[in-house]
């Protein structure tokens, strides 16, 4: 907007007083897109670096020799072999040197997993696909089911039922939902294969498992968002124009609820990797979740660090996407710069 307008500044200040600190002036020229993107990228790298460093420190603090891990519990090898391995992996260096070595190799993609003896990037690339399929389908399910829930809840008679169901979903442990689905649809009804690698049909139950708690949260927040939007003064003005309920939803409240829901969904998608750990365990699937558990239990420092960096990157990228989307929807955010 033109900063020259004498009213502009005043509008800004009024915003300040009315809606706390998050909203600020409109009169400032928007920072250039490139600069903003660079800023975001820098922040993203900072978070990734912080997370990996924290991970490094944490894993160094853990008791247990990685060499033991590499060899396995019942391996019988002499000290010289162990020393050999230590030298080979640089474990005889002082921690600071190790830190920089590991970090450097992580950046260049040369870091090898202790356990899997291949570059961590290769492992992640190999295992990302099953997890992506799982989380992707879970997202589709979650959005679909949440939409159904929201639509059902528009009928006042069904609202308490939907809300109870949502609460139950949100309250149930993911893995338990998985087990129940597995028992009912896998073992009893045999609608879906229980073996992990049987293609798409085998993906249904795990994805559903991952999706259900997500559905509960998303539909809850979405409905609350709509409720909140419709209790705002603008909804009254809109109604006073003689618009229908459907139009109120589609033209007004939907957009308001979408912002919050998106932010939350972004956070949830970021945490899907965590959920994948349990789902992949329950359904004995391959994927990053399984790799994570094994890496942590096995003290596979390089693997863990790579996963942490990946999680942080995913988190940052999703946040960025969500911010962009929210800014598209909400001019207030866009103008706050």
């Amino acid at each position: 907007m033109p900063p020259s307008s004498p009213d502009g500044g005043r509008a800004a200040k009024r915003v300040d007083t009315r809606r706390s600190a998050s909203q600020t002036s409109l009169s400032a020229p928007p920072t250039s897109l490139v600069a903003r993107a660079l800023g975001r990228l820098g922040g993203m790298l900072l978070v990734m670096w912080g997370a990996t460093t924290a991970g490094f420190i944490a894993l160094r603090a853990i008791p247990g020799d990685p060499v033991d891990v590499m060899l396995g519990v019942t391996a019988s090898v002499g000290e010289s072999v162990r020393q050999q391995i230590r030298v080979e992996w640089g474990l005889d260096e002082p921690p600071v040197v190790q830190y920089f070595t590991v970090l450097g190799r992580l950046v260049t993609g040369e870091l090898d997993s202790y356990q899997l003896r291949q570059p961590v990037m290769t492992v992640i690339a190999d295992q990302a696909m099953p997890t992506l399929q799982l989380t992707g389908l879970a997202l589709v399910f979650a959005l679909g089911l949440a939409t159904v829930g929201i639509l059902l809840a528009r009928l006042p008679a069904l609202r308490p039922m939907v809300s109870t169901f949502e609460l139950a979903l949100v309250s149930s442990p993911t893995f338990w939902i998985g087990l129940v689905l597995l028992a009912v649809f896998g073992y009893q009804l045999r609608w879906f294969p229980t073996a992990a690698s049987a293609g798409l049909p085998a993906l249904v139950l795990p994805a559903l498992t991952l999706a259900l708690p997500l559905t509960g949260i998303v539909s809850q927040v979405f409905r609350q968002g709509i409720g909140h939007a419709e209790s705002q003064p603008f909804a009254l003005t809109a109604r006073a124009r003689g618009i229908s309920d459907v139009r109120l939803l589609s033209r007004h409240s939907l957009r308001h609820a979408a912002g919050e829901t998106l932010t939350l969904s972004g956070y949830l998608v970021g945490s899907l990797l965590g959920g994948a750990v349990l789902v992949e365990t329950v359904f004995a699937r391959q994927g990053l979740g399984a790799v994570t558990v094994r890496a942590i239990l096995g003290r596979d420092l390089p693997m863990v660090l790579a996963l942490i960096a990946l999680a942080a990157a995913v988190f940052a990228v999703i946040n960025l996407l969500v911010d962009l989307l929210v800014a598209r929807i909400d001019p207030r955010v866009r103008m706050a710069g």
């Binding site: 912080g50 442990p173 893995f175 129940v180 028992a183 349990l278 999680a311």
Partner: protein
Amino acid sequence: MTLLQWRTRGESQRGRGRPGRGPRGWLPTPGVIAASLFLVVLMAAVLVPSLFSPLDPLRADASASLDAPSAEHWFGTDRAGRDVYARVVHGARASLGVGLGATALALVAGLIIGVVAGLAPKMIDAAVSRSIEVLMAFPEFLLALVVIAVVGPGETGLLVAVASAAMPAYARVARNQTLVVRNAGYVRAATVLGVPPWRSALRHIVPGTLGPLLVMAILGVGTAIVSAAGLSFLGLGPAPPSPEWGVILSEGRNTLSTAWWVAVFPGLAIMAAVVSIGTVGRHLKTGGAVA
């Protein structure tokens, strides 16, 4: 302003006309009553489990392995022939204990970190906020796994892990709330009166921050129970054979096709507990019992 008064059941806005908030909206629904009752029973089970189940949760009976639910064993038996009902009842203590303990720990740690960050000079605040952001970049579960790897499995490890995973969220809310309260009229008034900042922090800011955190924590207990059960399920919980819901559940997962009861009942217990906590928590939140 008149508009807001019309929102009879809606959440009241902070600091804006809410003069007549009487007991209206505070009337519990049947669901809330049922949930509260269940929680009371659950607390009783935590304190005196033998009240609800005379059987010993550790008593194995090889000849009664995987018996279906019956009059003798309400929830059936597990593979070692132990009574699942007794284990679920006795497991309440560990599960709720970890849930409550972890939430309390996360709350206190988050409160301290958040308030300090909120009151500290910009540099420190920025550093703390960044660190919190870093922790939030970890998927909660990954963070808990790493913590368990450091602290070691078992009940304490579980508690610390769940608390660490939950803490960043509390710290963030505490910090933001501190910033809000710090700029509240009554804190400014205290400064103008000449109240020293530390006293202002203790008497105004911490209590002002605590309110929203407590509401968050009530709901957080449920989440903590679920997270703890998940970690136990992966075998990172209390040492066997002590009963804990996640542990019992994971004991049952490989017998799912033959003996569904071992996994189903502890899962139902978790769900019922968390639903109850959620119901009561929401009621308190909207009823505004925490001022």
